[in-house]
């Protein structure tokens, strides 16, 4: 065990993967000698050489197209998009290519070795273009996996699982948490399961569900609610696609209430998908409407970021409203 922040855990996961399998490559803008603008790839070029860890030209569609080709050839590319806000030039390569490579060829070819890492999310005074949470766009794309870690331990285990998974995986890193705290991270290679949510705390009155940086927000909100005598069950979804319906449904069958929260805007956000599925599965057990606490239906602001974000006060109010319905 070593104490690491999330960036160190991610760096350690990449180091572990590159050290154990020479097919693993890391590349992207500023990823080489500089180690990435957040330093997630620090020392990897120095350790594994320029052929396996390198700067690319500044072209996201090129980075992912190149990564698709590498993955098809049998390499294991881990491509970095510097900010999730800048992933959109690569949308075509991800949505039409990565996601459909296996299906369209009848499994003659696949890009299952592909992992795309991108820092996402707000709370860092990043304004419109350094704050977005684009998971829902990709959640509408069968063939992709989407993974979001909540802390250093999860980050290493989920990233290693993503790298070794046999499907193209988007790994969104909550950049607000990069250096926010440290935690115990095993030194060895370990993989946490994809497609499985984790119940972080059992409770009886209401299920509170989120992922990534929002888990910290939930923690504070739940603390407030518990002081008022509300027993909360907390779930980290961890994998957005394909998502763990069973764990969430079983929880809601028990509590009868569900609050889902994410930073992305309300309309078309992934909470809508969860709400629809859970009301189908748990309709007769629901004691209150499923609540969504999300960013507003606007671009991401700067000065009024705090007003926009689904903070712990808002999540706490939703928990209370759900219980008092």
């Amino acid at each position: 065990m070593t104490q690491m922040n999330m960036l160190q855990a991610i760096n350690n996961a990449l180091d572990t993967a590159m050290g154990s399998d020479e097919r693993v490559l890391c590349f992207g803008e500023d990823v080489g000698v500089f180690g990435g603008v957040f330093r997630a790839t620090s020392n990897l070029q120095q350790k594994y050489g320029k052929a396996r860890c390198f700067n690319t030209p500044l072209v996201e569609q090129g980075i992912i197209g190149f990564a698709n080709g590498l993955a098809a050839q049998g390499s294991v590319p881990v491509a970095e998009i510097q900010f999730a806000d800048y992933i959109f030039p690569a949308f075509d390569q991800i949505v039409n290519e990565s996601a459909k490579f296996r299906y369209r060829s009848g499994n003659l070819f696949n890009v299952g070795g592909l992992t795309i890492r991108a820092p996402y999310g707000g709370g860092i005074a990043g304004g419109l273009y350094h704050s977005q949470s684009p998971e829902a766009y990709f959640a509408h794309t069968p063939g992709l996996k989407i993974v979001v870690p909540r802390n250093p331990h999860q980050a290493k285990g989920l990233l290693l699982a993503s790298i070794h998974d046999k499907n193209p995986t988007l790994f969104f890193e909550p950049k607000r948490l990069y250096r926010a705290s440290v935690g115990d991270v095993p030194d060895e290679d370990y993989r946490l399961p994809l497609g499985e949510a984790e119940v972080l705390k059992e409770g009886t009155d209401v299920t509170v569900l989120g992922w990534g940086a929002q888990m910290e927000v939930i923690e504070h909100a739940v603390e407030m609610a518990e002081k008022e005598g509300i027993s909360c069950e907390v779930i980290d979804l961890r994998t957005i696609l394909p998502w763990d319906v069973e764990t969430v449904a079983n929880s809601v069958l028990k509590t009868g209430r569900l609050v889902v929260t994410h930073e992305a805007p309300l309309t078309g956000g992934f909470a809508g998908e969860i709400a629809a599925t859970i009301q189908e599965r748990c309709f007769l057990y629901l004691e209150s409407p499923i609540a969504r606490v999300t960013g507003m239906d606007t671009p991401f602001p700067l000065v009024l970021e705090k007003e926009h974000l689904p903070n712990s006060l808002k999540v706490h109010e939703a928990i209370r409203s759900s219980v008092e319905f």
Binding site: E29, V37, P57, L58, F88, G127, L128, D297, L302, L313
Partner: protein
Amino acid sequence: MTTTKSKVVYNPVFTDGAEFRIPTFKLLKQDGSLYKGAKAPDLDKEKALRIYRAMVTTRILDERMLAAQRQGRLSFYMQCTGEEAAVIGSTAALDDADMIMAQYREQGALTYRGFTIDEFMNQLFGNELDYGKGRQMPVHYGSSKLNYMTISSPLATQIPQATGYAYGQKLKGDGHCTITYFGEGAASEGDFHAALNMAAVHRVPVIFLCRNNGYAISTPAAEQFAADGVAPRAYGYKMDVIRVDGNDILAVHEATRAARKLAVEHNRPVLIETMTYRLAAHSSSDDPSGYRSKDEEAVWREKDPILRMRLWLESKKWWSEDDEKQLQENMRREVLETMKRAQKRPPPALDTLVSDVYDEVPPALAEQFDRLKAHIRRHPDAYPKSAEHAKREA
């Protein structure tokens, strides 16, 4: 049907374009004198001083605001330092009504056009007078009055937009063009290639100005492209191209003046590659010591474009030591006073959260906004920037 005018050969002949060597256009030496044989540009005293004042103002603004960022007064900043001639020399060669679509390091263009220090500060501090309503990070300026399109952080997106904007100008027939600025890193984006190809195909009056400043954050130009700079790409699109010493204000001005003539009078788009150097860090979040040497920076510090112009102005007796001292003192004072004023101004009103998403606020968003206001009224202490607004709108 695909056709080509090329001649036919009967053995495989490869060509790598090495026969095309694009020269670098220079006029002004670092000591302020003209190169032998260089034609003095058509630049009168009034305009020359307008350019110089804009360069000095930009440098001082950048120095002060980076310091303010270091003091924690500002969340973020980006400097134009070292590239003032490339930006201001080109803007000055245009008509003030020509459109500018910049990347994010071209505050010098705004300074030249007359954006006031107050206007800069209001954006940097995102206060109630910021035209962008406190929505974007610092340095994302915009001015419809000065024909300067609001900055967008994603790289290169403005380049094909400039082609489209200029096509509209051509149809309108008002004799104006668009200039778009970008770095040599952004020129790797697909948008760059699309923009140049469409401009050449549709004969659009647009000037593509590449600030080849050596680095895209940490990535050196040598890892950005294998070719000799960005300029040779113009051949592939059949576009006029010129490479200029980007720290030479006279050469940049003259090249852009001639490019504008081609664009506006002959509907010929032009690529200008200005060879310069980003003397500062990429942004206040960056530390170049991790990827380049102090020695390399020192070489370029010697090529300071502002000093070079000053020496030229002094040689023409258009500028003196006293003038310099006065300008420096006045600008430093104005920047500091204006900063204090801007910092004290209140943030934008709460309803700027939901306005301008569409021309009108849709009903579902209006409902979200009502819920937000009620929430803020229940927790006024948690929202110091907006509690008063929420209360007033109760």
